[in-house]
């Protein structure tokens, strides 16, 4: 019995053939695309310039794949930032034909549409580090500014936890959507308010502030109010919703900011979103463990 289960599983030949064919189809060069790439090193160059590269692209090729080919074969000096290549790390956001997208999640042919030019620039409203890589220092500072962690007053429980904090699925649903943020910066880059107000906290940080404030385990509303309820905080947002439009992870920061405003107004009337969750009593835990 056991030996039968351990037998190696082999794909039926027709399925194997189909798979190979599909993958060949996906990687077969189909069109020549011209890449216009922004080249600029603020420490050396007087002004940016554009460089053009032509490449045979296949249906499956992403913009990041193409950039790596260009970097490997024609322009070794090209500055790009990436790590995961699968839309999880948020390193590779850039302006692809004028819109913020992840290079690793956008296929070249999808970006080119019916045209045959793909224009690549570093993210708008971010200082340029080099070529297509933007400087995220102030972006991360803004993120840190809203205290993106659970704030609680029960030191004793925090330091010596007796059990997990209680939370129902409904309570989880209030903030789950915002936890998907990968800090790619696309939203801040797309925001028209950020284009004119350098100090605006931005959709990413404000959505994260909301994410922690409505987490039932958190008790940090009053700590965060002086941070978000300011001239450069949530009231600067006027719902252009471009942040949500470009977010590659469906975080919908615009929604978070508007809900945050609602919450702040409720707070002015003395209402709090929740009581901080209690830890599941140790007795229950002990009983469960039997």
């Amino acid at each position: 019995m056991a030996s039968e289960e351990a037998k190696e599983y082999v794909l039926p030949p027709e399925v194997l053939e189909e798979t190979v064919k599909a993958s060949e189809e996906l990687w077969k060069p189909v069109r020549k695309i011209k890449f216009r790439i922004y080249k600029y090193n603020p420490r050396k160059d007087y002004a940016p310039h554009w460089e053009e590269h032509e490449l045979e692209v296949s249906r499956g090729m992403t913009v990041l794949d193409a950039l790596l080919i260009i970097k490997g074969e024609t322009d070794h000096s090209l500055g790009i930032r990436y790590s995961c290549r699968m839309g999880l790390c948020g390193s590779c956001a850039m302006m692809i034909n004028g819109k913020q997208m992840l290079a690793c999640q956008t296929r070249v042919l999808e970006a080119a549409g019916s045209g045959d030019v793909v224009e690549l620039r570093p993210l708008d409203n971010f200082p340029v580090e080099r070529d297509l890589a933007a400087d995220f220092t102030s972006f991360f500072e803004k993120h840190r500014a809203v205290k993106p962690w659970i704030i609680r007053n029960d030191e004793v429980e925090l330091n010596n936890p007796t059990g997990p904090y209680k939370q129902t699925v409904d309570e989880y649903a209030r903030y789950y959507q915002f936890t998907d943020c990968i800090k790619c910066g696309a939203c801040l880059s797309a925001c028209p308010t950020a284009a004119t107000d350098y100090e605006y906290l931005g959709p990413q940080a404000l959505a994260q502030a909301y994410r922690y404030i409505v987490d039932t385990r958190d008790d940090g509303l009053d700590v965060r109010i002086p941070i978000v309820d300011t001239e450069h905080g949530c009231w600067r947002c006027h719902f252009a919703a471009s942040c949500s439009d470009v977010c590659p992870r469906g975080v919908d920061p615009a929604q978070g900011i508007q809900l945050l405003k609602k919450l702040l107004i409720k707070r002015k009337f003395g209402l709090k979103p929740h009581k901080p969750a209690e830890a599941l009593p140790a007795k229950v835990k002990a009983e469960k463990e039997g």
């Binding site: 006027h238 719902f239 252009a240 470009v246």
Partner: protein
């Protein structure tokens, strides 16, 4: 020297400035955002003249234009009040589709956009009727 460093800073900072408000790449809300700010500034300018003499108004076609500015700001303002107080933006999701589009844009809010635009057209038409037909008749 001064000009040169400013020139360099412009590219190094890569800030879009006011031109960043106008961008075809995004949804209609972006245009409404830009239009709302511009009409807001124009209304402030008119209010200054209005303070100087409350009876003053620019006259005929300009009156109609003033109507477009004011009614747009009003109608879109109603939409913004609803959205920014968190009433038209929907609820956070627990389950997302693989390429989830934002609920705050494509949910109820879209109907509110349509409502605001219709309201704008109706109010502007009424205003224009008074400015272009009723006012001149009354002399």
């Amino acid at each position: 020297m001064e000009a040169e460093s400013e020139f360099k800073e412009y590219y190094a900072k890569n800030m879009r400035g006011i031109s960043g408000w106008f961008n075809r790449a995004y949804t209609i809300e972006r245009w409404l955002y830009a239009a709302h700010r511009i009409t807001g500034i124009l209304i402030v300018l008119f209010v200054l003249a209005h303070f100087y003499s409350t009876g003053w108004h620019p006259g005929l076609w300009w009156d109609a234009l003033l109507g477009i500015i004011v009614t747009f700001h009003t109608a879109n303002g109603i939409r913004l009040i609803l959205a920014e107080l968190g009433f038209a933006v929907g609820k956070p999701l627990l389950i997302k589709k693989p390429s989830q589009r934002p609920v705050s844009i494509e949910g109820v809010q879209r109907y509110v956009v349509v409502f605001a635009l219709v309201l704008f057209v109706v109010l502007a038409a009424i205003w224009a009727y008074y400015a272009l037909i009723v006012q001149p008749m009354m002399g």
